[in-house]
């Protein structure tokens, strides 16, 4: 169990580091949060579910759009990570972070910033899709080799 806790903690730290280093791209509705590429990690490591949740929580506490990002954004990541883990053996696993973040984060950002819902949902989902499909899949492929 200690090994899992430790690994979840470093995954959370990497998530926070990537979000904060690439900060200008990471928040708001025109966002490509490269750290979200890690959303696929539950495919390889179940403990990444907790790691991603904590990582998202830390990044949002220290640099998000405040309370809503902290509570809703992190919970969305948690649910998406769990679904990715459940569907880890099929390509379905790529979808939860894109769809859930697009829908939930897009909707509350639209409400928060008074922009049309469809616009915010599409842009968030697009940014998420870039992170997950373009950056996430190669990361998983390479990590599978070194695991």
């Amino acid at each position: 169990m200690t090994a899992k806790i430790a690994r979840a903690a470093v995954i959370a730290a990497i998530y926070a580091v990537l979000t904060i280093v690439l900060r200008p791209f990471s928040f708001g509705y025109i966002q490509v949060r490269v750290a979200e590429a890690l959303a696929l990690l539950p495919i390889l490591y179940p403990e990444a579910i907790a790691g991603l949740f904590i990582g998202c929580l830390v990044s949002n506490i220290y640099g998000g759009l405040g309370p809503i990002d902290i509570f809703l954004g992190s919970l969305t990541t948690l649910v998406a990570a769990w679904l990715t883990y459940r569907w880890r053996n099929s390509w379905f696993a790529y979808l939860p972070p894109i769809i859930l973040n697009g829908l939930i984060v897009g909707t509350y950002l639209a409400f928060l910033l008074n922009v049309p819902v469809y616009l915010a949902v599409v842009t968030v989902a697009l940014g998420e899709a870039i992170a997950v499909l373009v950056f996430g899949i190669p990361i998983i492929k390479r990590l599978r080799r070194v695991k």
Binding site: I5, V10, A13, F27, F53, I54, L65, P67, I139, L143
Partner: protein, 261 residues
């Protein structure tokens, strides 16, 4: 690349001394109050309760500016977008774009929301040291334990993650320099550029995790159950008073919304 997660400003103000749970919950309800405000004026007024708190906490203007600066471009885009694209009574025209009264109101409201929410989060992180933040979150997650939520393990992960962020940042810089010495480039967000950073970062992080797990085993860590702690959190009268004010803010914001509509 200068960066510190330590936005924490040590101090002993009334805000510093509040229980982290009070601050976390108040942050949440403050956000709700601002979102309930039905127009720009109401949002600007209800949010302004944050200013006396910032003064009491003794935060400098330079510190606040540093929190808001990264969001400047984003906020400008949001505001311009609203002002121009909302149909309504025309006020002024900039080239082909027409600025409307309704647009100005919506834009200002969005601006006020982002401004206050970021300010509130900054106030929380500036006056609460990361360890007590983790303690507070653990206590707030505790009721979830019955549903199978490992609140203590999550809090430990949070503490460890906070501790590892600076280490990982250093590591990321070292890897980037090492890769650049071998001809890699880190300009632009490209897969080809980021892989030589991310993969080594993972490998070194997992190695660190292994060492950490061994250290925990050696110290006989056996899960959170029955652990005692050095600092016990306790709510004081000030916490209750602060929280009552927060609830009053939400209540008045909600009441005003009902009245206006």
């Amino acid at each position: 690349m200068v960066f510190e997660l330590g936005q924490y400003m040590p101090g002993n103000s009334a805000i510093h001394r509040l229980d982290p749970r009070t601050k976390l919950l108040s942050l949440f309800f403050y956000g709700v109050a601002i979102l309930l405000a039905p127009n720009a004026t109401a949002a600007l007024i209800s949010g302004s309760v944050i200013f006396p708190l910032i003064i009491v906490a003794g935060l400098r203007l330079a510190f606040i500016w540093r929190q808001l600066r990264p969001l400047l471009i984003f906020m400008t885009i949001v505001f311009a977008f609203q002002a121009v694209l909302t149909p309504g009574e025309a006020l002024a025209a900039v080239g082909p774009a027409i600025i409307t009264r309704e647009g100005l109101n919506l834009g200002l409201m969005a601006l006020a929301r982002v401004f206050y929410l970021v300010l509130a989060a900054a106030l929380l992180t500036a006056t609460t040291d990361p360890l007590s933040l983790a303690d507070g979150l653990e206590k707030l997650l505790r009721p979830g334990t019955r549903l199978g939520l490992p609140s203590q393990e999550l809090a430990l992960m949070l503490t460890l993650a906070l501790r590892f962020v600076p280490t990982m940042l250093e590591e990321a810089e070292r890897i980037m320099r090492a890769q650049m010495a071998r001809g890699a480039s880190f300009k632009g967000l490209k897969v080809k550029n980021l892989m030589p950073l991310i993969i080594p970062l993972f490998i070194s992080a997992f190695r660190r995790a292994e060492a950490l797990a061994e250290a925990m085993e050696a110290r006989a860590y056996q899960g959170g159950k029955g652990r005692t702690r050095m600092r016990e959190l306790a709510l004081r009268p000030a916490d209750y008073i602060f929280f009552i004010f927060t609830i009053m803010l939400v209540g008045s914001s909600f009441a005003y919304r009902l009245l206006v509509k």
